[in-house]
């Protein structure tokens, strides 16, 4: 068979049923092999859309996402999605066509050094130099993408390798051993837990990625430890768990940030002290000892020195740390903080208050549902005001903060979970960044629901200009947006616009009960900002409270 046929065979051998991509010159043999094969291909309308669809597919399903692109511009367009997958530790295998080996380095048509470009935005990358290397390299790529701390792996395949003949043999791949946990570390961790009077659990995306959600929930049941989560950690701790205070950090809840600042032991699980979480690092949880658990040893001590650190599979470690803790007083204190700082959805007036609308949406979503976010103010409102049953149900570009993520990621999620209700929550800025993917929804007849929250502003930047740049609104006015409902109609997607709070309930119902895709365009006032906010350089205890400009 040809190298190209072997590529498809390796995908099938890894259980890959769906690939996202866009054809072009240097990947034509692979697209030829795809034609009529058992692997289904979803044509996106931009390689970045294909990359994000693969990310959304992976995040919503826990499986490895796969995307294809041709050489040169196809590959460069993929790069942003790979960077996103790197920062959020998402298992993705990207396969790019490359010009033939004989012309690599001659500035051939659509030639760019993709391997060189990949170095800073993938977990690992390969350029296949001979057809003999092809199958073992692809097997290795799948193993690397999903093992340890997951991440994107790129395989660049020159065209002559794709058309060369080979005899297919499945290679034996050495799977890396899981790191062993020393008993002494477990003992030290248990001693820290036993000594703590005010422990807090800080949960990141690593728990969901490790498939350790149930172990973490059992740990919380056993210890009763109060908890907070990062943006990527949302959904890991069940909504309504006693002592769970939601998201911490720059736009975290006040109770969450205050409790973390006051704790005497911070137990960090699958998280990495991101600057959006810690605020001023030197005064983050200043009185706390730190117990840090993560699969990636390079995260331990990277930003905050741990008292005990364990690099291991969370599924194996968490059960060994279960123990009852004598923290009833602290739990009562956390409970009081939670009650004192609950969100207030009482927002009189006829304008639509997005936080209240999103809370209403969360309460309406069926058991099998996915919310895919874009980036900006609406993303933070989703994180603050919605709740999720599992981390796989909330897709958000957390580490890279990539506008344009939401729509293609929702497409990937819908392909992975065809029976789920998938809602893309976007803003008027983000939506336009991958708006071409509306065609993919039309082409695949996907029932993706789009909730477009429109304040005619690049809202988060506008908020910062208002607060920190003396209201000099440089290039953040988007009031020349297109008519979004008309735009959607060009892709056979029905929709409507709402302006008033009294329309929200019925419009959400219409969107959710509609059989196919739907665009609900929600006009909100640009005076609404995201609160609370930890200003840049400040401690998490110094949150700014709501101070809305009246219009």
């Amino acid at each position: 068979m040809r190298g190209a046929d072997a590529v498809i065979k390796v995908l099938a051998a890894h259980g890959v049923t769906t690939v996202f991509g866009y054809p072009g010159g240097a990947i034509m043999p692979i697209y030829d092999a795809l034609y009529g094969s058992e692997v289904e291909h979803t044509l996106c309308r931009h390689e970045q859309g294909a990359g994000f669809a693969a990310v959304g597919y992976a995040r919503a399903s826990g499986k490895t996402g796969v995307c294809f692109a041709t050489s040169g511009p196809g590959a460069t367009n993929l790069i942003t999605a790979l960077a996103d997958a790197l920062l959020d530790s998402v298992p993705v295998v990207a396969i790019t066509g490359q010009v033939s080996t004989s012309v690599i380095g001659t500035d051939a048509f659509q030639e760019i050094d993709v391997l060189g470009m990949s170095l800073s935005c993938t977990k690992h990358s390969f350029m296949v130099q001979s057809v003999e290397e092809l199958v073992p390299t692809l097997y290795r790529a799948f193993e690397l993408a999903a093992s340890g701390r997951p991440g994107p792996v790129l395989v660049d395949i020159p065209k002559d390798v794709q058309i060369a003949q080979l005899e297919y043999r499945a290679p034996l791949i050495a799977v890396a051993d899981e790191p062993e946990v020393r008993d002494a570390d477990i003992d030290a961790a248990r001693a820290l837990l036993a000594a703590a009077k005010k422990p807090m659990l800080y949960v990141g995306g690593g728990v969901g990625m490790a498939g350790a959600t149930s172990q973490l929930r059992r740990f919380i049941e056993a210890t009763r430890m109060p908890s907070v989560a990062t943006l990527k950690g949302l959904g890991t701790i069940a909504h309504g768990t006693p002592g769970y205070l939601g998201m911490l950090g720059m736009h975290g809840g006040k109770a969450a940030n205050l409790a973390v600042q006051e704790c005497d032991l911070l137990m960090v699980v699958g998280a990495r002290f991101d600057d959006r979480v810690t605020g001023r690092l030197a005064s983050f949880a200043p009185n706390a000892k730190v117990l840090h658990l993560d699969i990636d040893a390079a995260e331990l001590g990277k930003l905050r020195r741990p008292d005990v650190a364990i690099a291991a599979e969370l599924r194996a470690v968490l059960p060994r740390l279960e123990m009852p803790l004598d923290i009833a007083l602290w739990c009562a204190e956390v409970d009081a903080l939670e009650k004192a700082h609950r969100w207030d959805y009482n927002h009189p007036g006829s304008l639509i208050y997005a936080p209240a609308m999103l809370r209403r949406l969360a309460n309406k979503l069926p058991e099998d549902s996915v919310v895919s976010c874009d980036v900006g103010q609406h993303q933070m409102w989703v994180a603050q005001h919605m709740h999720f049953r599992r981390p796989e149900d909330h897709l958000s570009s957390a580490g890279l903060g990539t506008m344009g993520f939401g729509l293609p990621a929702a497409i990937g999620a819908q392909m992975a979970r065809p029976d789920a209700t998938v809602v893309a929550v976007s803003g008027d800025g983000s939506f336009m960044m991958n708006v071409q993917e509306l065609t993919t929804i039309k082409r695949r007849k996907l029932p993706v629901k789009i909730l477009l929250i429109d304040n005619q502003r690049l809202g988060m930047v506008k908020q910062w200009q208002q607060l920190f740049f003396e209201e000099r609104y440089s290039e953040t006015n988007l009031s020349d947006n297109p008519d979004f409902v008309t735009l959607a109609s060009a892709f056979d997607i029905p929709g409507r616009t709402i302006f008033a709070a009294e329309e929200v309930e019925e419009a959400l119902n219409e969107m959710l009960t509609c059989n196919g895709p739907f665009l609900l365009h929600v006009a909100i006032d640009d005076a609404f900002n995201v609160w609370p906010l930890v200003p840049p350089g400040a401690s998490n205890s110094d949150m700014m409270e709501e101070m809305e400009r009246s219009t």
Partner: protein, 83 residues
């Protein structure tokens, strides 16, 4: 602060680039380097300087898939005394 590292790697065309990229990006200045090609492997002796702790670099290098070993050499007495 100056540090010396010994890094061994699988022989791949881009492997030195990978190591040097991490050195730069993680906030270290390369002050001296010596490369030796072995049987399917590459050894690099690196001298780097930075205000940052050397573990921040060595942990990231260890994490690279093609890096098979990364050792921070002990500081000579004179350097650690002046640090």
């Amino acid at each position: 602060m100056n540090h010396n590292l010994e890094v061994t790697m699988a022989q791949r065309p881009e492997v030195v680039e990978r190591v040097l990229r991490v050195v730069r990006h993680r906030g270290f200045t390369l002050t001296h380097m010596n490369m030796r090609l072995g049987e399917g492997s590459v050894s690099l002796s690196l001298s780097v300087s930075s205000e940052r702790a050397i573990e921040l670099l060595s942990n990231q290098l260890t994490k690279l898939v093609d890096v098979t070993g990364c050792h921070v050499l002990p500081q000579p007495m004179s350097q650690s005394a002046s640090a």
